[in-house]
């Protein structure tokens, strides 16, 4: 019987990570594209105001705001959900790395990876 430690070689871990990353990007880009089409159909003829910085409203800034607003099926809300999925993709990779180093019983790198994960989560949730 092959034990878990041998099955999760570095090369295997990287292959799983790369599939994870690609899936995340393809999903995020599809959601952004869908939201973009709805946004342009509804608001394509209006005039943008990007030359002046206003900051985004709360529903495009917090996890809760983005998740609840996306179900109103407004274009910008769906785009923002896609962008959130995109930001979560590298974070998911770090979460997976914590699991992989745990299976390899590599305590030092479980600790290193947890530090990276904590920085990412603090910035996303309270930044």
């Amino acid at each position: 019987m092959i034990n878990l430690r041998e099955r999760w070689t570095d090369q295997r871990v990287e292959e799983v990570i790369s599939v994870l990353l690609r899936t995340g990007v393809v999903t995020a880009a599809s959601v952004v594209l869908l939201g973009g089409i709805i946004y342009l159909i509804r608001h394509g003829a209006s005039v943008p105001h990007y030359h002046q910085f206003h900051g985004e409203p709360p529903q495009y800034r917090t996890l809760k705001g983005i998740l609840t607003d996306a179900f109103t099926f407004r274009g910008r809300a769906i785009i923002q959900l896609g962008l959130l999925l995109l930001i979560l993709t590298p974070i998911a990779r770090v979460v997976f790395s914590v699991a992989a180093f745990t299976l390899q019983r590599d305590r030092l790198y479980v600790a290193v990876t947890l530090i990276v994960l904590i920085v990412l989560l603090i910035n996303l949730l309270w930044g």
Partner: protein
């Protein structure tokens, strides 16, 4: 001052663009930037902010937010191609990501509080620096460094004659340079790929292939650290990030497809000249307070 006057001042044609037209222009520009960036290995992110800020009069803070999400997309999208080759060093990547994510947090914090003119000037200087060609050390033989050995950074990579092992050194210096690369990434919304490769190859003595593939892995995590802050602070605008991210992703994917078959010195020169011009313009516009 009216909207139209602002656009005229910034050199944009004196009519007001609709969202659809502007999105189309951004999409095409981002696709070209992503394509050239991936062909030349300089990355597309570095010209996205000048394109949006100088070319289209977008506030530099929105431009940085849109550029950063594009950086995450290209880095994660390219990972599949890189991993197949089996060069990257996941332990080194993760250890150095401690430095880049902390640096990126600091960089994003600076962007929130620094005047936009200063950000523009720093951006211009970084653009100019990014065109300097470096000769890479390409994994010369070193003695075993005790700290690198303790952190298990020494590894091996595939060559034509089988697995070649390597030893790395100068871990604290590499860590410090990575923190700086992360800070620039967070401050300017770029990937800082060249600086990451420089830190791994020149300072730490990783083989070049290991440096480039591991650096690509790190770019996404680094950018996610500052993107979290920018999202929370309202710097990521969906209407602007949408065409930017989709354009860069399309361009860089196409660029990666043709990469192996094309000789690129001429293209690299052209892209370098574009970057120098953009760098000077960023500095000029920053100093005169127009960005």
């Amino acid at each position: 001052m009216t909207t139209v006057n602002e656009w005229v001042l910034r050199g944009v044609r004196p009519y007001v663009m609709s969202i659809t037209l502007l999105s189309g222009i951004i999409f095409l520009g981002a696709a070209v930037a992503g394509f050239l960036g991936s062909l030349t290995g300089l990355g597309g992110g570095v010209v996205i902010v000048p394109l949006l800020a100088l070319g289209l009069g977008v506030d530099i803070r929105y431009a940085i937010g849109a550029s950063l999400v594009s950086v995450i997309a290209t880095s994660s999208g390219a990972a599949v191609a890189y991993v197949r080759e089996g060069y990257s060093n996941i332990r080194a990547g993760m250890l150095l990501e401690v430095a880049t994510t902390l640096g990126a947090t600091l960089g994003a914090f600076l962007t929130l509080h620094a005047p936009t003119q200063i950000i523009a000037v720093i951006f211009g200087v970084v653009l100019l620096f990014s065109t300097i060609p470096f000769r890479f050390a390409n994994g010369a033989e070193h003695e075993i460094d005790p700290l690198a050995a303790k952190l298990r950074l020494d590894s091996s990579y595939p060559t034509a004659d089988g697995q070649q092992s390597y030893h790395v050194r100068h871990v604290p210096l590499g860590f410090g340079l990575m923190a700086l690369a992360g800070a620039l990434s967070g401050l300017l919304g770029i990937g800082s790929g060249a600086m990451k490769v420089l830190a791994m190859d020149k300072a730490m003595g990783f083989p070049f292939k290991v440096s480039t593939t591991t650096s690509n892995f790190m770019i996404g995590v680094t950018a996610a650290a500052s993107a979290g802050i920018f999202l929370r602070q309202g710097y990521i605008d969906p209407g602007l990030a949408m065409p930017t991210m989709l354009g860069v992703l399309l361009g860089s994917t196409l660029g990666a497809r043709v990469l192996t078959r094309t000789a690129t010195p001429v293209l690299r020169w052209v892209f370098n000249i574009v970057i120098v011009v953009l760098g000077i313009e960023m500095i000029f516009n920053g100093l005169t307070g127009r960005l």
